[in-house]
């Protein structure tokens, strides 16, 4: 029982990182990133490949962050030149191209079979303790990331990016440089998503392109909108609700045995879609957010 709850907590922690990353990009800077899953995937694969080659999980994590951050640079360049809805479409396309590359460049990525046997940290502690240690790692990453993001958003830089989100023209006229700030935020967000990818890859011990479909990006968007895009508390709450939907439907069948398991998958998707629509309509600031001046 405990082991299962620990597993669920780990997944929540990983989605929380993804949500924080999206909040940073959209909530604080107004960048509409529909390709979040690309950085998640790149981080996962980079970490897996590095760890398999060097047997060092730590190096893998470093690689994940670096690769995801570098991949964000061209997207950053695009973000400067594109309106939000066009950026959304282009980032969506980007994430699909990344997935196609992962699927087809077999010699590097293992293609459809993916990579298995990814080294697990704490493996020598025995199954129960290893799991708890991993949870501690995920929580530690969350704490570090939250501190960094807090630092960034409360700093002058943070005020700058919030100003950009609210009124770009004014900021530019004041001589501050929106472009550099936007790119920095995107890169930081991508690095966080890459870290999340590494955490996931080393937890599940295998990666396949199927884990990185666009729908994952939209799961994170739902978590973000639901929790409240500008608040870190909201990110964690949103991630928890998301995982509740994804895992909770597993148990619904015990109370409603007439529902087939195959229908549960559809129910999960329906709940995520519905949550997105309802929150956008009636409470766009999310559960914890302050009403945005939009």
């Amino acid at each position: 029982m405990l082991a299962y709850l620990v597993a669920v907590a780990i997944v929540i922690g990983i989605y929380a990182l993804l949500t924080i990353s999206l909040d940073l990009q959209y909530g604080f800077t107004g960048l509409v990133n529909f390709g979040q899953v690309a950085f998640y995937a790149l981080g996962a694969y980079a970490s897996a490949l590095t760890a398999l080659a060097t047997h060092s999980v730590a190096l893998g994590f470093v690689a994940a962050i670096v690769v995801a951050a570098i991949a964000a640079l061209p997207i950053g360049a695009l973000a400067l030149r594109l309106r939000e809805d066009y950026l959304a479409i282009v980032t969506l396309g980007f994430s699909e191209v990344v997935r196609l590359v992962l699927l087809n460049e077999e010699k590097l990525t293992g293609g459809g079979l993916g990579l298995t046997g990814i080294p697990r940290p704490f493996a020598n502690l025995g199954p129960g303790a290893a799991e708890i240690a991993y949870l501690a790692l995920v929580v530690a990453c969350n704490i570090v990331v939250v501190l960094i993001v807090r630092r960034v958003t409360r700093s002058p830089f943070g005020r700058l990016i919030r100003a950009i989100r609210d009124n770009e023209v004014t900021v530019a006229s004041l001589g501050k440089s929106p472009p550099a700030a936007k790119v920095k935020t995107l890169v930081l967000g991508a690095a966080i998503a890459g870290l999340a990818g590494a955490l996931y890859a080393h937890y599940i011990t295998f990666v396949t392109p199927d884990q990185y479909l666009p729908v994952v990006t939209f799961y994170v968007w739902m978590a973000s909108i639901l929790g409240g895009v500008s608040t870190l508390r909201g990110a964690i709450a949103g991630a928890a609700v998301l995982v509740l939907i994804l895992e909770g439907t597993r148990f619904v069948r015990d109370f409603f045995p007439s529902i087939l398991a195959v229908q549960m998958a559809s129910v999960r998707l329906a709940l995520v879609g519905l949550a997105l629509v309802l929150f956008v309509l009636y409470r766009p600031q999310g559960v914890f957010g302050r009403a945005l001046p939009r």
């Binding site: 699909e96 968007w221 998958a265 329906a270 939009r294």
Partner: protein, 288 residues
């Protein structure tokens, strides 16, 4: 001859992409946001047509009417229940809502029909071979259908009063309202048109392949690329861009392979937005 046949394949696929792009373009121009649920309107139309066949009717006309009716109903419902309330909000709001709606429609369809792909009964029909060029009877039919759709849309937009109003709203919504154009009527006309187009497109795709919940979503990226390439505000441009994109995709397969040809849409999309944001035929757009 090999390449010519590839081109023909591309034209056929391009027409479908073009239809989907047309639906996107209309909403982009008049409703001012990219409607990510367009693909799922197509899917619902396809399932409606399939249901009609299951109930016993093999008439393409009846199936087509059912598809159109279903997509129009869903399209109007989406407008009335969701998009209508998001007017005045930033563009991200209806975009996100359309994503959520799409997921929701997809899940309803799979709850009702299951996740497995379904098939129309469609025995193979031999192609006409004209000097090595392979032409499929069904494709000529499809080409006519697409051309007819474009013609009807253009007719509606330029000749009818409601079409004029739609164009006015597309050009300048504020001014349009000031001159007394009732946005409610325009929107109903818009979303009905979008529903009709997506219904037809969805049915056509399903007839040529299978009926499955991901049917429309899989076309979304090429459709967006075509919409942007054609230029927002130009219905004919959407179809032409779709054709161009379809042909380019197929011609690229000897080099890119069948898996990467899909990536071509993305590249085209990005390049167009960077180099010529108004697309081939569109009016100057605020892209930045």
């Amino acid at each position: 001859m090999f390449y010519l046949n590839l081109m023909v394949n591309g034209v056929v696929e391009g027409l479908i992409i073009g239809l989907a792009a047309l639906a996107l373009n209309l909403v982009f121009a008049v409703g001012r946001f990219p409607n990510a649920a367009s693909g799922d309107f197509m899917t619902i139309g396809a399932y409606a047509g399939y249901s009609v066949q299951q109930l016993g009717s093999h008439s393409a006309l009846v199936q087509g009417l059912a598809a159109v009716a279903a997509s129009v109903a869903v399209s109007l419902a989406s407008y009335a229940l969701v998009f209508r309330h998001l007017v005045g909000r930033s563009m991200v709001a209806p975009l996100l809502a359309s994503i959520g709606l799409g997921l929701f429609y997809r899940s309803i369809v799979s709850l009702l029909f299951g996740l497995d792909p379904l098939f129309f009964v469609m025995p193979p029909i031999h192609a006409y071979t004209v000097a090595g060029l392979r032409l499929q009877g069904t494709d000529l039919w499809l080409a006519t259908l697409a051309a007819a759709s474009v013609a009807i849309v253009l007719l509606l937009l330029h000749v009818t009063p409601i079409g004029r109003e739609m164009r006015a709203v597309a050009d300048n919504a504020l001014l349009a309202r000031a001159s007394g154009i009732r946005s409610r009527r325009v929107m109903i006309a818009l979303w009905s048109m979008v529903g009709a187009i997506t219904g037809i497109a969805g049915l056509v795709v399903a007839l040529r392949t299978t009926v499955n919940p991901e049917l429309g979503w899989g076309l979304l990226l090429p459709a967006f690329a075509a919409a942007v390439l054609g230029g927002v505000g130009s219905p004919a441009g959407a179809i032409l861009a779709g054709l161009l994109l379809g042909v380019m995709q197929e011609l690229s397969t000897p080099w890119l392979g069948f898996s990467y040809k899909i990536a071509l849409s993305f590249v085209v999309l990005t390049v167009v937005l960077l180099v010529r944001p108004q697309g081939l035929f569109g009016t100057a757009q605020v892209v930045r």
